[in-house]
């Protein structure tokens, strides 16, 4: 229940404060919003800038090959209101990310939730995840 309320509050807060900013960056054609995938990796870069902040993560596949994934989040103003800042993620930090995958099949996505190595939720956007 607490997790639900927290997610709902975050959704409410983001809806409240983000509407006026960067309205021209709709995501509908770019990502499959009905699908959520999970990945684990190591932060290579936290790009704290508009139009949308982006988290880059090195992910090691079953064959041992490392692929750099890029995940977009919200704009600086919205994330600031959620308590985030330019130091929220550090290179070398291990994370688990739940995301909407891209429609084009490239290793990019939209962040829905981010957890640290102990399972603590660090960022949430878009309400509760049911899958």
């Amino acid at each position: 229940m607490i997790a639900f309320l927290r997610s709902a509050f975050v959704l409410f807060a983001v809806v409240l404060v983000t509407a006026p900013l960067f309205a021209h960056h709709g995501r509908g054609a770019s990502y499959d919003n009905g699908k959520i995938e999970t990945i684990q990796g190591t932060v290579s870069e936290w790009a704290w800038r508009n139009p949308h902040c982006a988290l880059y993560v090195d992910v090691k596949g079953p064959d041992g090959k490392v692929v750099n994934w890029g995940f977009e989040s919200q704009n600086v103003s919205s994330l600031s209101r959620l308590g985030m800042n330019r130091l929220s993620f550090q290179p070398g930090q291990e994370l688990t990310i739940k995301f909407n995958p891209s429609r084009g099949g490239a290793p990019v996505g939209v962040i829905r939730k981010v957890y640290d190595i102990k399972g603590k939720e660090l960022l949430s956007f878009g309400g509760p995840i049911d899958q």
Binding site: L16, A19, P20, H52, A54, G104, A106
Partner: protein, 290 residues
């Protein structure tokens, strides 16, 4: 479900409902003592309706041959419903569109005011009213000192600009703004309609209560259109755009009040948007890695 759960959920959804209409409700209603307002005072922070309320193309008068030719060169992401299946197929992506805003060119007028829902501040100075826009840290000057809208050689000497040249005057309680001198490369809307250099756009702003400015806009561009084009959207008041006063906490960022308080710097910088975000994230999301 426990009683506590029901109460908490009730409070939560009440809060959400309140939040959605907060900026509309926080200010006192017109007609009350506290809701009195000066109809000639448009100062303060305002924002237009949500992005879904974009001008409907159905109201557009037919193109002239020149207008049709100009439109054929535009490749918009958005194709209006009435134009679907026509000669211009559009392009459904920012990467193949030639909409100038996707590579950080200025949004321009009238698009910045009449299509986007970015926050606007009206500022009064002697002889001018300024419109400040959060997006792009942009400014527009509405000259109130009695000068006339430039025409002919005077207009040619001044030349085109992304936001044009604007003069304004009060007609009763309505602020009437006329603008001309447009850069023909700017798109007046997301559909890529043409707008000629010496077209004239008339805006009429009227404050209808303490929290609302009613706006009307008409495009006069005989080079591209066979008649005046009245701003029209598919709403209950189709020829009116309502600008709502922003609540105090919507323009207060960690104690810094205003549109340009650091983190609200809503600029389209090519280094960020084109070279970084689009190439590394968004283009790959649409087209994949090739």
């Amino acid at each position: 479900m426990s009683l506590i759960t029901v109460v908490v959920l009730g409070l939560l959804f009440s809060a959400v409902a309140f939040g959605q209409t907060k900026s509309r409700q926080q200010q006192p209603a017109a007609g009350t003592a506290a809701g009195k307002f000066d109809p000639h005072d448009l100062s303060g922070f305002w924002e237009g309706p949500p992005p879904g309320q974009r001008p409907a193309e159905d109201a557009r008068p037919p193109f002239t041959p020149a207008g049709k030719e100009a439109m054929s060169k535009r490749m918009p992401v958005y194709i209006s419903r009435s134009a679907r299946g026509g000669e211009n197929p559009g392009c459904r992506s920012s990467t193949c569109s030639n909409d100038p805003i996707y590579v950080c060119n200025p949004v321009g007028f009238p698009r910045h005011v009449w299509e986007e829902n970015e926050p606007i501040e009206f500022v009064y100075t002697p002889g001018r009213i300024l419109q400040l826009f959060q997006w792009g840290r942009t400014i527009r000057e509405l000259w109130m000192d009695g000068r006339k809208l430039p025409t002919g050689q005077n207009l040619e000497s001044l030349g085109p600009s992304w936001y044009g040249i604007s003069v304004a005057e009060w007609q009763g309680d309505t602020l009437v703004v006329n603008t001309t001198g447009f850069d023909e490369r700017a798109w007046p809307d997301q559909y890529g309609h043409p707008l000629s250099f010496d077209a004239r756009i008339e805006e009429r702003y009227r404050r209808i209560d303490a929290n609302t400015i009613e706006g009307r806009m008409t495009i006069f561009d005989p080079k591209n259109y066979t008649g005046p084009w009245v701003y029209t959207v598919k709403t209950a008041t189709p020829q009116v755009r309502l600008f709502k006063r922003m609540a105090p906490d919507e323009v207060n960022y960690f104690g810094w009040k205003g549109l340009f308080s650091g983190i609200t710097e809503a600029m389209c910088a090519p280094m960020n948007e084109v070279e970084d975000f689009n190439k590394r994230i968004r283009d790959r999301a649409i087209f994949g890695d090739k």
